[in-house]
């Protein structure tokens, strides 16, 4: 089993996400993370799905995704074939702010993006291992809330979507 990133380019069609996720459900494959956004092309959306799968199964999953009528193209990549990032937000009580915390923030290239009366929100962008590590440390600073996005990824291979549009 290894980690794969699936990039799916779709028409903006109601229910498309459901159609894609039931393919994973049917085979009992857990989606580790998912993000949706627009792509470079107007009106075409891209989904980035991170799954743990096998070399054989990933091909079948991607073929099945691509069979969906409103899916234009689906690709899959191993981790070394994509440049990817995730964003994590950490909410801490104001009382935790001290030089020790500030040092940690600098050390992890994180930053405070919001400071309210009672709490601050720290943001860090990176890979899961790094944001997870910071989470471990911030637990000592009475972290109140944590949220992490799925990955956004662009591929290293120089293929473009254009060739699949007409």
């Amino acid at each position: 089993m290894k980690k794969f990133t699936i990039s799916v380019f779709t028409e903006n069609f109601i229910g498309i996400l459901n159609r894609i996720t039931i393919i994973f459900t049917r085979r009992g494959v857990n989606i580790n993370g998912i993000t949706a956004s627009e792509s470079r092309e107007d009106g075409i959306y891209r989904l980035t799905i991170e799954v743990t799968s096998t070399d054989e199964q990933i091909v079948q999953l991607v073929n099945q995704i691509e069979r969906i009528i409103d899916v234009i193209k689906a690709f899959y990549y191993k981790d070394d074939q994509v440049v990817f990032q995730e964003i994590a937000l950490y909410k801490l009580p104001v009382s935790s702010l001290d030089p020790g915390l500030e040092k940690v923030i600098r050390q992890y290239n994180a930053r405070i993006i919001s400071a309210e009366k009672d709490f601050v929100v720290i943001e860090m962008t990176g890979h899961k291992e790094d944001t997870q590590e910071l989470l471990g440390i911030l637990k000592k600073f009475n972290i109140m809330e944590f949220a992490r996005s799925g990955r956004v990824a662009v591929s290293k291979p120089m293929q473009t979507l254009d060739q699949y549009l007409q």
Binding site: T10, E11, G15, R26, I69
Partner: protein
């Protein structure tokens, strides 16, 4: 200025007319009433068949589609009307049957509110459709229907569901209909890769013991002639899958039988002895392959297949030829060398003799008391037309009828293959018959399956569709009982039925009927059935505990096929 706008409901009907739909199977209800009202003005253009249950409507549409090669159409109301389609959708999806199903939906302001007969049909049907859509605006109705027909019939065919809200049906809009020829995100016919065709030809030309397996893909591509030409040029023996029957005449000297769990002895055994396996328009279903890890491991595999998902899904192909098999076969025919394989073909014939001497003799010319299902089919063959259609339900009778029915022409079989839907047979036969009332349609059913959709006798009565129904009654859910006997120590857990008087049921529906219990009456009864012009119901009481052989038991390899 004249207002040329019409109601969405009428746009639905005009769109169907534009798609040259002549027959529509359906059942009215609240949320589809505007369309039924519009239909009232078009009954001279569209023949609507009122079934007795929505499941009957969709199976009838499937039967219609399978014999005609056209898109089957059905129309039902929201809520339970729509959910009653689900089995048929799943069946049509797995057996690649083109359907367009139109469902009424509550008015759009009520969506998501648990309104009366509101259900999330688009959500329910998503895993069971090739494509589905909810239409909430009148201007989207015709484009959705146009796109739906294109998607249903092109590429690997499948069912499409179009859910139309009641307010869109009532709203006024202009009608213009533009047939859909392409959809940006959908490439139904991947181009045939000539390199792969060359590789396939190379493998075939070098083969000593090549073997062709053909499936329904040949029928769907209308590639029957190409298949025959390919086989005759190369002299390769060929066997069919359940749904491929009819794509190549069983009278042909290169035809060597049927594949799979209850297929023939020779093709199952020799699958594991061939050196090149050429699969054409089939998907290596587990009922065909048995234990995959011991399936044709000695052979190089050539796979001609339209759907990329099927390539390497179950069996790895050495030469995967993606694309329409009509096209790839044509290319292949030019590149293969004329050849013959007499010795190899003889191996099939020898094993065939073994099967004939044991199983076939016992099934077709039994000496013991108790009628066999096989001998009923033998008499059917004797009296039927060459292009008669066999429609079966699911179970022992399905396997026996498939094994022994004489398939001479293309599109002569309708059965539920992938899903194994009991209750499919009777309504599917109705649909097949209504496509062409002058073609013989023989519906073979068991006593279990017929009771799942027996209400469609009412539709047969009303339409006078001259279906010849043969009920093979063994008072058991026979296939399950056979498994209980073989694999569950004869613990017949809930498989014996207390049955009604079927003849009285047929009589109640004013369908001419007869019942046979003795061997000496069988021939005449079958002959009489075919002589009758209208629908006919023939009940044959068969041996209670007969089994279907040969059999590749679950988990076994195809060459472990048993004759008893």
């Amino acid at each position: 200025m004249n207002d040329t706008r019409i109601r969405g409901a009428e746009i639905v009907i005009k769109s169907l007319v534009a798609e040259k739909v002549t027959t529509l199977f359906g059942y009215p209800g609240g949320a589809i009433m505007p369309v039924y009202d519009a239909l009232y003005d078009y009954i001279d253009q569209v023949d609507h068949v009122l079934t007795r249950h929505e499941q009957g409507a969709i199976h009838a549409a499937q039967g219609f589609a399978r014999v005609s090669g056209k898109v089957g159409v059905c129309m039902v109301t929201s809520g339970p009307g729509a959910t009653n389609l689900i089995t048929g959708l799943a069946d049509a999806l797995i057996d690649s049957t083109p359907l367009v199903c139109i469902t009424g939906q509550v008015a759009s302001h009520l969506l998501g509110t648990d309104a009366f007969q509101e259900t999330d049909v688009v959500g329910f049907s998503m895993p069971g459709t090739k494509w589905n859509i909810q239409v909430r605006r009148v201007e989207d109705i015709a484009p959705a229907i146009s796109k739906g027909f294109h998607i249903a019939r092109s590429g690997r065919p499948g069912p499409v569901l179009i859910d139309i809200t009641k307010d869109a049906q009532f709203a006024l809009g202009e009608f213009t209909y533009a047939p859909t020829f392409s959809v940006r995100s959908y490439k139904p016919y991947p181009p045939v890769n000539s390199k792969m065709v060359e590789k396939a030809a190379e493998l075939i030309n070098g083969a000593k013991k090549p073997f062709v397996l053909f499936g329904q893909g040949v029928l769907m591509a209308k590639a029957e002639e190409e298949l025959r030409a390919f086989l005759e040029k190369t002299g390769i023996p060929a066997a069919c899958t359940l749904l491929g029957s009819g794509a190549f005449s069983e009278d042909h000297p290169l035809y060597v039988g049927k594949l799979g769990m209850h297929g023939n002895y020779a093709p199952n055994i020799l699958t594991n002895q061939c050196d090149v396996l050429i699969a054409i328009g089939m998907r290596f279903d587990d009922r065909v392959t048995g234990d995959l890890s011991r399936y044709a491991t000695q052979a190089k595999v050539v796979h001609l297949e339209l759907d990329p998902v099927e390539i390497n899904k179950n069996v790895k192909a050495d030469a995967p030829v993606l694309g329409n098999c009509k096209e790839s076969l044509s290319l292949l025919i030019d590149q293969v060398h004329p050849s013959s394989h007499h010795e190899w073909l003889n191996e099939f014939r020898q094993l065939e003799q073994e099967e004939k001497a044991s199983v076939v003799a016992r099934d077709l010319s039994p000496t013991k008391t108790g009628l066999t299902m096989g001998e009923v089919i033998r008499y059917v063959n004797e009296f039927k037309d060459d292009d008669a259609v066999l429609v079966t339900d699911v179970g022992q009778h399905q396997m026996i009828a498939w094994r022994y029915f004489d398939f001479k022409n293309s599109r002569t079989q309708v059965t539920s293959g992938g899903l194994g839907t009991m209750g499919f047979g009777l309504p599917a036969a109705l649909g097949a018959q209504l496509h062409n009332p002058s073609r013989q349609v023989i519906c073979v059913v068991g006593d279990g399956g017929i009771q799942m959709t027996v209400q469609e006798l009412g539709t047969i009565m009303q339409t006078k569709a001259p279906v010849k129904i043969i009920l093979l009654n063994n008072n058991y859910l026979g296939m399950v009982r056979q498994w209980q006997q073989m694999f569950f120590d004869k613990r017949y857990s809930f498989t014996e039925l207390e049955n009604p008087d079927f003849i009285k049921i047929a009589e109640a529906y004013k369908i001419k009927s007869s019942k046979v219990e003795q061997r000496e009456d069988l021939s005449e009864a079958v002959a009489d059935m075919f002589l009758h012009e209208g629908p006919y119901f023939l009940e044959v009481v068969v041996a209670k505990e007969d089994n279907v052989f040969p059999m590749v038991a679950t988990g076994c390899s195809v060459d472990e096929i048993r004759l008893s």
